[in-house]
């Protein structure tokens, strides 16, 4: 071992890795280029997309203030070497002169020069862009300037960039979703067993609503109570379920529950043995938060293309959608009435063939749900009966408007 004195006066040992111990590596200020790959001379930014649950290529979907928000920086990868890893940093502020917040990327972008060359196709793969999760303080009501501050080779030097460097986003205030979820515990007379929704079904529904619905938050309460019905079920069961939660709602609003609160019942399907088809009791033409609905819950096992731990999420969101005035778009044809004459996307999809819209599921780490881009032509709106459900812009904006109406019309009077 040799010793050198650096200019600051303190001896600094320079360790040479002995052949017998290959794991002692010399400290270096810059990573060897052989490890980072060839550094591009510059990169071209094609677009910056600010997105929540659903977004169009021109940013037409309303951004809800205080809602989880993703920024995608789309880079032209066609002229870059595959395997190059890029990362970056955003600078966000409310105006040019305001203090800035610096936001690191969610990991890095590994360049794939063979990736689809069109931005429309690239948008369907979440890993095809440099992604950033905005901090909660950056999504307050008002304008936000989003600027790409730096791009650099992961572990290496900064890279010059051209193209779109900054966009302006507007966040609009929205009320929360107030929901009381009531699990109805019932006895199966044929087996003597009692069934109630497991915690996973409440959790999946709550998470889905927070991620998909046009709300900054879900004000959620839940409880399990004994049902006024038993199994085996018949076609009256769902009516009894809805009547019971309507009664519960009335008594609780009479005792101070916020009258803007929606009530939804969950009924476990007992591993598929007792499936109660969901029903909302009404599709109100105007704000009516007392409209109740009931949904089955259970393990999907491929139901509507769902293979995770619960189908309460999209099913409950569908029934809840009716209570906000949403009709069926009519897909698949023959399986559903087509009462929503204004539904704009073919086949109940999130987008037409122009791929203008992409769904974004920002994920939930508590449930192991990853961040995902949801192709607009391979996913369907949650008001359909089709597979792979998410929320389309038409439903997103309509529920947002209805929530505003409810919030204004039914706010509790101040004593």
């Amino acid at each position: 071992m040799t010793s050198k004195r650096n200019k600051s006066g303190m001896a600094r040992a320079q360790i040479q890795p002995p052949e017998s111990n290959p794991y002692v590596a010399p400290s270096r200020r810059r990573v060897d280029s052989e490890l980072t790959g060839p550094a591009p001379s510059q990169v071209a930014i094609q677009a910056i997309e600010v997105c929540q649950a659903i977004q169009s290529i021109d940013g037409s979907v309303t951004l809800v203030a205080d809602k989880a928000t993703l920024v995608r920086v789309h880079i032209d990868q066609s002229s870059l070497a595959s395997g190059v890893r890029l990362t970056g940093e955003l600078k966000v502020r409310t105006s040019i002169g305001a203090p800035a917040t610096y936001v690191p990327a969610l990991g890095d972008l590994t360049v794939d020069s063979q990736a689809p060359s069109t931005r429309l196709d690239q948008r369907n793969a979440i890993q095809s862009s440099l992604n950033f999760r905005l901090p909660s303080g950056a999504t307050k009501t008002g304008e936000l300037l989003v600027e790409v501050n730096r791009i650099w080779l992961a572990g290496g030097d900064d890279v010059k960039f051209t193209g779109t460097k900054e966009v302006s986003a507007t966040f609009v205030s929205a009320p929360p979703l107030r929901l009381r979820c009531i699990g109805l515990r019932y006895r199966d007379n044929s087996t003597g067993q009692t069934h109630a929704p497991d915690a996973v079904h409440f959790a999946y529904l709550r998470s889905f609503l927070e991620r998909a619905y046009p709300v900054p938050s879900v004000e959620w309460t839940q409880i399990v109570v004994d049902a006024d019905f038993t199994a085996p079920f018949n076609d009256q069961t769902v009516l009894k379920a809805n009547a019971q939660i309507a009664a519960i709602r009335s008594s609780e609003v009479n005792n101070g529950m916020d009258p803007r609160t929606h009530y939804l019942a969950l009924v476990d399907d007992a591993r598929g043995k007792n499936f109660m088809r969901g029903r909302a009791m009404g599709i109100p033409a105007a704000a009516a938060p007392d409209t109740v609905a009931s949904s089955p819950c259970g393990v999907p096992n491929g139901f509507a293309g769902d293979n995770d731990l619960s189908y309460s999420d999209w099913y409950g969101a569908h029934e809840l959608g009716h209570t906000f005035g949403r009709y069926h778009p009519g897909f698949p044809p023959g399986a559903q009435d087509a009462s929503d004459k204004d539904f704009p996307y073919q086949n109940g999809q999130l987008s037409n063939a122009d791929q203008k819209f992409v769904g974004y599921d920002l994920g939930d780490s508590t449930l192991g749900i990853p961040l995902q881009a949801l192709s607009g032509t391979h996913h369907h709106d949650l008001m359909t009966y089709a597979e792979r459900q998410w929320i389309c812009a038409h439903t997103f904006e309509a529920i947002r408007s209805r929530l505003i109406e409810e919030d204004q019309q039914f706010a509790p009077s101040i004593a």
């Binding site: 309460t221 769902v238 009547a243 019971q244 609780e252 101070g256 009516a288 009709y327 559903q336």
Partner: protein
């Protein structure tokens, strides 16, 4: 403890099938205020075929309303025909009966019997929080040993010490007995529980106590 809240309304929950004309009154819940959304919903005028008819003790009509019919969504492709009614009815002096009518015919009648206070019966026989045998998370409350009357039902509500909101655990039961599941109140160490008798268009608290959850 006896409370006699001033109830100005009754929230009527009923079901009707406009294809068959069958239906029934499921709940009549006295309340201090309107609990439905219909007052501001701008709902379409109620279906003329269906009517809630208000009558006095002699059976004479003293009022009526065409309620909004909330037809079920997600039906099996046919035109919706089963509906829920969630109607606030303003209580008027002399109101003794509510009829559900369809096409002028009475489908169901809510006419509560006279029911005296059960407070003494309740206090003498009710349990307050005894764990069920073999299931210590479930606590037995109330009693089934009260005289039942038509149109008289019981509601059990609870408020944990970590919340301001009364939660309804049981409603529309003919006897005031209930099992509390402690695990429905995470983080709470005690629970205020009250039993309310809904006797027709009046309600009164029969008893209210605090039970320990830990």
């Amino acid at each position: 403890m006896v409370e006699a809240p001033t109830n100005a309304y009754a929230h009527v929950i009923a079901n009707i099938d406009v294809s068959s004309g069958q239906g029934g009154i499921d709940y009549v819940l006295p309340s201090r205020k309107r609990t439905g959304s219909d007052r501001l919903a701008g709902a379409a005028p109620g279906d003329p075929q269906v009517r809630l008819v208000l009558k006095d003790a002699a059976g004479k009509e003293i009022g009526g309303v065409h309620p909004e019919l909330r037809f079920e969504a997600c039906d099996d492709g046919e035109k919706p025909h089963r509906a829920l009614i969630q109607q606030d009815v303003e209580l008027s002096e002399g109101l003794a009966q509510v009829d559900l009518e369809f096409d002028g015919k009475t489908v169901d009648t809510f006419r509560p019997e006279q029911a005296g206070p059960i407070d003494e019966q309740f206090r003498e026989t009710a349990s307050w929080g005894l764990p069920l045998p073999g299931d210590p998370d479930k606590l037995a409350l109330g009693t089934g040993k009260v005289t039942t009357h038509s149109g008289v039902s019981y509601m059990v509500q609870a408020k944990p010490d970590n919340s301001d909101q009364w939660q309804t655990l049981s409603i529309g039961k003919s006897t005031p007995e209930f099992v509390v599941d402690k695990n429905q109140f995470p983080g709470a160490s005690s629970l205020d529980v009250r039993v309310t008798q809904n006797a027709g268009f009046e309600s009164r608290t029969v008893d209210e106590r605090t039970i320990k959850l830990e």
